[in-house]
C-alpha cells in the first residue's frame, strides 16, 4: 500500500476507531508516560519522548495467568489468550518494536511459548518514528536499530509537523490502515523524501554510541576482571534496569490460591535480585551484585548473541536514564572495549 497521511486533527478520530480493538497507546499519569489501554482518545499522548515502562508489557504482561484450577479437582483450565482479541499498540518507538523481535527468538526456540506467541500474533504494532531522539542516552544505531527503524513494525508513523506520514510495512499493517482509511489521505509527492531527510537528521542527532564489534567474544574473557567490582559498586540491586528493559524477559512462576480457587501465574523477575538464583540450600551461585551485574551485561552482549545472533539490547537508554545511581551500560561497555 502506498504511503498515507494522517492529519493530526484526525488522529483522535482514528484512535477512536482503533479503540474497538484492544488499543494501547502512550498516556500520561502525572509526569510519567506509560502504555495504557485506551478507550478515550483524549487519554493518549502521542507527543511524547518515550514511555517509562516499555510496551513489552502488552505482549508479556508483568503478571499473567498460565492456568487456573480448583483445589481438589484435577482439571487445569488453560488461560485462553485468543479471547483477548485483536490488539493494537499505537505509537511505540521503533526500538521497542525491534526489542519484541529480539525477544521472539527466546520465546520460540525449542519449546514454543504459547502465551507470548499467541499475543504477538494478535498484536499489530504501529510505530512512531523518533524525529528527535527521546533522550540523550539513546544509542539505537549502535546496536542495529534506527530512529526511523521499521523492523518488526506493521505501520510506521512519522511526525511531519502538521500531520503524520503513515508507512504501511506489512499486510497486517495494511489491514489496520484500511480500518482507519477514511481518516487518511494519500501522501503527496515528496513526503517520503522529506521523511528520509528527517530520518537522516534524527540519526545525526543521536549523541551516544558504542562500537559493539568484538564485545561478544571479549566478555567471557573478562570473567575475572576487576572492572565488574568497579562498575557494580554503587548498584542497589533493584529491578529498574531489567524491568524497564524492553528485551529483558526473565520470569518467575508462582501459584496463588484464593479460597478454593487457584492459578499458576508468571511474573517478571530480575536477575539483579538476590533471590533470583538463591538455592533452597542457601547457596547462591551469584552471591553479590558484582556477579549479577556481570551476568546482566554478559547476557545481553554475549550469551544472547551467542545463542540467537543478535544483541539483547536496543539502545533505548532507559536503564541509563532511570538508574538511581547512574550505572551506565555504555560506560561499562566502554570499559569492556578498553580492557
Amino acid at each position: 500500500m502506498a504511503d498515507k497521511i494522517l492529519k493530526k486533527d484526525k488522529a483522535a478520530e482514528a484512535l477512536k476507531e482503533l479503540s474497538k480493538f484492544r488499543l494501547f497507546a502512550p498516556a500520561k499519569s502525572d509526569d510519567v508516560v506509560l502504555f495504557r489501554q485506551i478507550e478515550d482518545p483524549a487519554e493518549a499522548c502521542l507527543d511524547y519522548a518515550n514511555s517509562t515502562v516499555p510496551p513489552k508489557k502488552v505482549v508479556f504482561p508483568q503478571t499473567e495467568t498460565l492456568f487456573r484450577f480448583k483445589l481438589g479437582n484435577p482439571e487445569l483450565r488453560e488461560k485462553n489468550v485468543e479471547e483477548e482479541g485483536t490488539t493494537v499498540i499505537f505509537g511505540l518507538r521503533p526500538c521497542d518494536a525491534r526489542a519484541m523481535s529480539i525477544v521472539d527468538n527466546l520465546f520460540s526456540w525449542d519449546y514454543e511459548d504459547p502465551y507470548y506467541l499467541k499475543r504477538r500474533e494478535l498484536t499489530t504494532l504501529v510505530g512512531m518514528a523518533c524525529v528527535t531522539p527521546p533522550s540523550v542516552n539513546c544509542f539505537c544505531a549502535s546496536v542495529g536499530g534506527e530512529p526511523f527503524g521499521t523492523e518488526n513494525l506493521d505501520l510506521l508513523l512519522v511526525d511531519m509537523g502538521e500531520e503524520y506520514l503513515v508507512k504501511v510495512l506489512t499486510d497486517k499493517g495494511g489491514k489496520l490502515a484500511e480500518t482507519i482509511g477514511s481518516f487518511m489521505e494519500n501522501a503527496p509527492e515528496g513526503a517520503a523524501a522529506k521523511a528520509e531527510e528527517l530520518a537522516g537528521a534524527a540519526r545525526e542527532a543521536l549523541s551516544r554510541s558504542i562500537d559493539t564489534s568484538g564485545i561478544e567474544a571479549k566478555l567471557p574473557a573478562l570473567w575475572d576482571s576487576p572492572l565488574w567490582k568497579e562498575v557494580s559498586a554503587a548498584c542497589l540491586g533493584c529491578g529498574i534496569c531489567t524491568y524497564l528493559c524492553p528485551t529483558c524477559h526473565c520470569f518467575d512462576i508462582q501459584d496463588e490460591v484464593e479460597d478454593a480457587e487457584g492459578r499458576r501465574c508468571r511474573m517478571w523477575d530480575s536477575c539483579m535480585f538476590r533471590e533470583y538464583t538463591l538455592h533452597a540450600s542457601g547457596h547462591n551461585p551469584r552471591p553479590t551484585r558484582k556477579e549479577r551485574t556481570r551476568n546482566r551485561i554478559s547476557h545481553k552482549y554475549s550469551y544472547f548473541p551467542g545463542k540467537f545472533g543478535v544483541i539483547a539490547c536496543v539502545g533505548c537508554g532507559r536503564c541509563v536514564n532511570l538508574c538511581p545511581v547512574n550505572i551506565d551500560i555504555l560506560e561499562i561497555l566502554g570499559k569492556v572495549v578498553e580492557a
Binding site: L34, Q62, T63, V136, S207, A234, G237, P324, N326, D328
Partner: protein, 327 residues
C-alpha cells in the same frame, strides 16, 4: 559551599589511614549534570571526588547494603572502618542505623557536609534537556548556577531545589568526625503542608488518589533498596514462607507492598526522600512516609534519627499514650 580541594585533601588523609578500608563519596556522573556514588579504596582515587548540589544520593544506604558472601576457609573478614560523606539528612540515617544497632559508632568515619540543598535532578533535566557533556551545578546565594555546553544559566534555587530540602530541619550533619564546611543554619521549617490537602479529603478521594498511584507500581523495589533504613537481611517481600505479599502485580498486592514498606518505616524514616527520587513511575512515596512522620511527631513527640541515645519508637511506649479510638 564545600571547597572541593579541601574535600579531596581530607579524603586523602582519611583513606590513607590504616584503619580505614573504604571511603564512600561522590564523583561526577557519566553524563549531563549527574553525580554518582564513588567508592574510594586508595589515595589515588580521591581526585575524582566532588560535592555539589547534584550529589543527591544518600550514601548511608551503602553502609547496610554490602553483601557478605561466605569467606573462603581461613580468610579473615576486613573489619576496618568505612568513611562516608553525609549531608544533614543523610547523617540522620546514620544516627537511626546506630539507634537500631546496625553497627557501632567506631565502625565509621563520618565526613559531614553542611548542605544548603541539593537539586531535584528531574527538574534540572526537564529545564535543560538533552545535555550530554558534563555540566556543573553550583550554589550562589539564592540561585543555582548551571554551566553546560559552554553556557552558563542562573536559576532561582527554589525552582530546582529538591522538595525535601525546602522543608529541611537539619541541614548540618548531626553526627560527624570531620566537618567539611561551616555549619548551615536551619533555613526552612516543616509544617507538613504538602500532605495537608490530601489529609483533608474524603476516604473515597484518598483511595482514588492512591489507587491510581499504586496501580503504576512495577515492584522494582528500588524504593526499598535505596532506603538507608530498609536493611533487613530477610525482607518480608522476598519471603515465600509465609507469603506476605504475592509477587503478582495488581492493585491488591501493590497496596499491600506500599503499606508494608511505609509501615516498616514508621518512626524510622529520616526524610531523605530517596525512595521518591528513585521511583521510575513517580509514586509520591514520601507522602506515605511523611504521614507517619507527622503522626509520630504529633502523637509521641518523636523524631527519628536525632540522637543515638534514643529508643526505637515502636520498641517503647508511654502509659499515657493516646487511646481515644479504643473501645
Amino acid at each position: 559551599m564545600v571547597d572541593q580541594a579541601k574535600l579531596r585533601e581530607v579524603a586523602r588523609e582519611v583513606i590513607s589511614r590504616e584503619d580505614v578500608r573504604l571511603l564512600i563519596g561522590y564523583r561526577p556522573g557519566t553524563y549531563g549534570f549527574r553525580a554518582r556514588p564513588a567508592f574510594v579504596e586508595s589515595a589515588e582515587q580521591v581526585e575524582e571526588l566532588v560535592f555539589t548540589p547534584a550529589c543527591v544520593s544518600n550514601l548511608a544506604s551503602y553502609l547496610v547494603l554490602e553483601e557478605k558472601p561466605p569467606l573462603p576457609r581461613g580468610a579473615e573478614p576486613d573489619n576496618r572502618k568505612v568513611a562516608v560523606m553525609v549531608k544533614g539528612c543523610d547523617s540522620r540515617a546514620l544516627v537511626q542505623q546506630m539507634v537500631e544497632k546496625a553497627y557501632e559508632r567506631d565502625h565509621l568515619v563520618v565526613l559531614g557536609i553542611p548542605c544548603s540543598g541539593v537539586v531535584d535532578m528531574a527538574r534540572v533535566e526537564a529545564r535543560f534537556p538533552g545535555v550530554l557533556s558534563a555540566g556543573s551545578i553550583i550554589r550562589e546565594g539564592d540561585d543555582f548556577v548551571l554551566s553546560f555546553d559552554g553556557k552558563t544559566e542562573k536559576v532561582p534555587a527554589a525552582e530546582l531545589l529538591a522538595d525535601k530540602c525546602k522543608r529541611c530541619r537539619y541541614p548540618t550533619p548531626l553526627v560527624s568526625d570531620i566537618m567539611l564546611d561551616d555549619e548551615v543554619e536551619r533555613f526552612a521549617e516543616d509544617d507538613f503542608s504538602d500532605i495537608a490537602e490530601l489529609e483533608g479529603k474524603s476516604v473515597e478521594e484518598k483511595w482514588a488518589y492512591w489507587a491510581e498511584k499504586f496501580s503504576r507500581c512495577i515492584r522494582c523495589y528500588s524504593c526499598r533498596n535505596v532506603c538507608p533504613m530498609c536493611y533487613c537481611e530477610d525482607c518480608i517481600l522476598d519471603r515465600l514462607k509465609p507469603v506476605w505479599m504475592r509477587r503478582s502485580v495488581d492493585i491488591s498486592e501493590n497496596t499491600a507492598f506500599h503499606i508494608s514498606r511505609a509501615y516498616h518505616l514508621a518512626g524510622r524514616c529520616i526524610q531523605c526522600g530517596e525512595c521518591a527520587r528513585v521511583c521510575p513511575v513517580d509514586i509520591p512515596l514520601m507522602e506515605l512516609n511523611r504521614k507517619f512522620y507527622k503522626d509520630v511527631e504529633e502523637l509521641y513527640d518523636y523524631e527519628p534519627g536525632l540522637s543515638t541515645e534514643a529508643t526505637p519508637l515502636l520498641s517503647t511506649f508511654s502509659v499515657e499514650d493516646r487511646e481515644d479510638f479504643i473501645l
